[in-house]
Symmetry: C2
Subunit: 335 residues, 2 copies
């Protein structure tokens, strides 16, 4: 707890890799809610690769510019309310940013829980929120795998990747995870039930991926872009689908790179579909998807891996580490 | 007519642009049909950019290798039949290749017309055959434009492009054609009803394309790949669709190039779908599509432009010219 409001600002544009020095912490007074507003104490920040993408260019939101307050998806608790639509004790989620306190109006937030017991906070920014929903909608609405098909997931030790991999397994697919390093790969098989895992740092990456997919690749859930996408494209089956979910290999380059060899040639000759999406596009299906994911988590079929940092002051380092691939599972910061 | 069989072979692999010297003509005896076969006199060859792609790599068919007989889609007439499934005088289509005569079995051909009057032969390799069907299925099954949307077509003076452009106009879209040179662009507007046309050789290509699409681009029917695709991607609206039909800008490079900048970044941030297809994928819908196209041609809404070369000896030159963009409309060779 704190009786001031610490706020992280995006201070300097990185030339290459993001570093902690690109952010600046300022301390302000705790804001006062006006009529129709509520005061939220932040509890848990979601740390997402997309935050780095926002600095690069206009995406689905305006480009983040030096001097801007740092946005972030987060969960908090209503401590004081001046609106009948929110009550003290409500757990709410929204784009609250990297700070201790936020003043919100009801239409800026989604009320998650009104009274305890609450699910673990890290699940409210992970499996049961945008992370789990991103994996769910990307896999089932865009990738549309059928049982028995081979699904490959990159950054499979990451937040979305670890969810997508497990969901494809639940759906009866052969699932192959791509991750960096032998240790992560072993965990994908042992903990998450991947049928195989391939280290993209291996000198024989393509041969190993090919061996792990003896029937080719039907759905590729791409979180990385870059050379991993380029390689996997060459192993796609006819009528395969590429779910364009993220481009974490490119964010720290500071540009989108030269593109992917084989596009569009291989899309034509193998009739592939490559499709991007944003989790918000499926808001109307959210309740149903959350119910399904909750059932899987409660039933133990779906493990919600969490990589937790402690304290708002750690937020920049947590994002830097995420981009370097240091995490296994969902990265979150307890405020 | 000829009482020998002239046959063109793919003799040498081009390093860059295809030239006539990469082919070799041989003269053989007219083949004899065996039991269950028929002898076909070729009448019209379809000249297609895909023929150049076949030399580059395995596509939807095995790679063409030096020494191979040159395949080509064509229409011919049955002159002698030793099978009850084909009759003398039948017009048939199939992959008959660059030659005067072909011996075929009934399951290798599609019977188009049994008795006169026949439609013009050039329409049987153009509007009423794979060219028209490629435009039809690519536009309506992959691109799925809605009335009022903006559809951009590249190589819009080409065989498939000129069809796709007119079909999008018939479907009530704003249609913008991309072609090389002012003369072709003017014809797209005056003859084919494009709302605007843009010369991709212009130094201000992007600005001109943007001005021609004041509401952005909803569907891009891509026949070229390369820089034109890269530029058009930057003008796509959210949930836009890119129909990957051809890559004529890349075939004469001899490789697929470095890829397209913005893939997959812009696919994610604008939720785009990029999808390849092959006309054969839609064989089960062929009869219905042909009936629609025939109605449009007969009714004068759809113009079937033809760029005709005379004589089998001109086949290599016709393909070389096509790849250089010298044609306006469907390129065909009267045998």
């Amino acid at each position: 707890m704190t009786d001031v409001n610490r706020r992280w600002f995006y201070a300097r544009k990185p030339e290459g890799a993001l570093r902690v020095e690109h952010f600046e912490l300022k301390t302000e007074a705790v804001p006062e809610p006006g009529p129709g507003q509520a005061l939220v104490r932040l509890r848990m920040l979601s740390v997402d690769p997309a935050q780095r993408a926002w600095m690069m260019a206009r995406t689905y939101r305006p480009q983040l510019m030096p001097g801007d307050f740092m946005p972030a998806f987060a969960v908090g608790e209503v401590l004081r309310s001046c609106t009948p639509d929110l009550n003290q004790g409500d757990l709410v989620e929204g784009d609250f940013g990297w700070q201790d306190w936020a003043v919100v109006s009801p239409r800026q937030v989604l009320r998650r829980h009104s009274r305890p017991p609450h699910p673990p906070l890290e699940q409210l920014v992970g499996a049961l929120s945008i992370t789990g929903l991103t994996a769910f909608f990307g896999l089932f609405e865009v990738g549309r795998p059928r049982p028995g098909e081979t699904v490959v997931v990159s950054a499979a030790g990451g937040a979305v990747g670890s969810m997508a991999l497990q969901m494809a397994r639940i759906a009866g697919c052969r699932v192959v995870g791509i991750a960096g390093g032998a240790a992560k790969c072993a965990r994908l098989v042992q903990e998450l039930g991947a049928h195989a895992a391939v280290d993209h740092r291996s000198a024989n990456f393509r041969a190993e991926l090919k061996a792990a997919c003896p029937n080719g690749v039907d759905v590729y859930f791409d979180n990385t872009a870059g050379p991993i996408l380029e390689t996997t494209l060459t192993l796609m089956n006819q009528r395969g689908r590429v779910v364009c979910c993220g481009a974490v290999a490119q964010y720290d380059r500071g540009d989108w790179g030269a593109g992917v060899a084989g596009v569009p040639g291989v899309l034509i000759s193998r009739r592939l579909r490559m499709e991007g999406f944003i989790v918000m596009d499926f808001d109307h299906q959210r309740r149903e998807a959350e119910a399904t994911i909750t059932r899987w988590v409660t039933g133990g079929q779906l493990k919600a891996l969490v990589h937790l940092a402690q304290g708002l002051e750690q937020a920049p380092q947590a994002l830097v580490d995420l981009l370097a691939g240091a995490n296994y599972g969902k990265v979150a910061v307890r405020v």
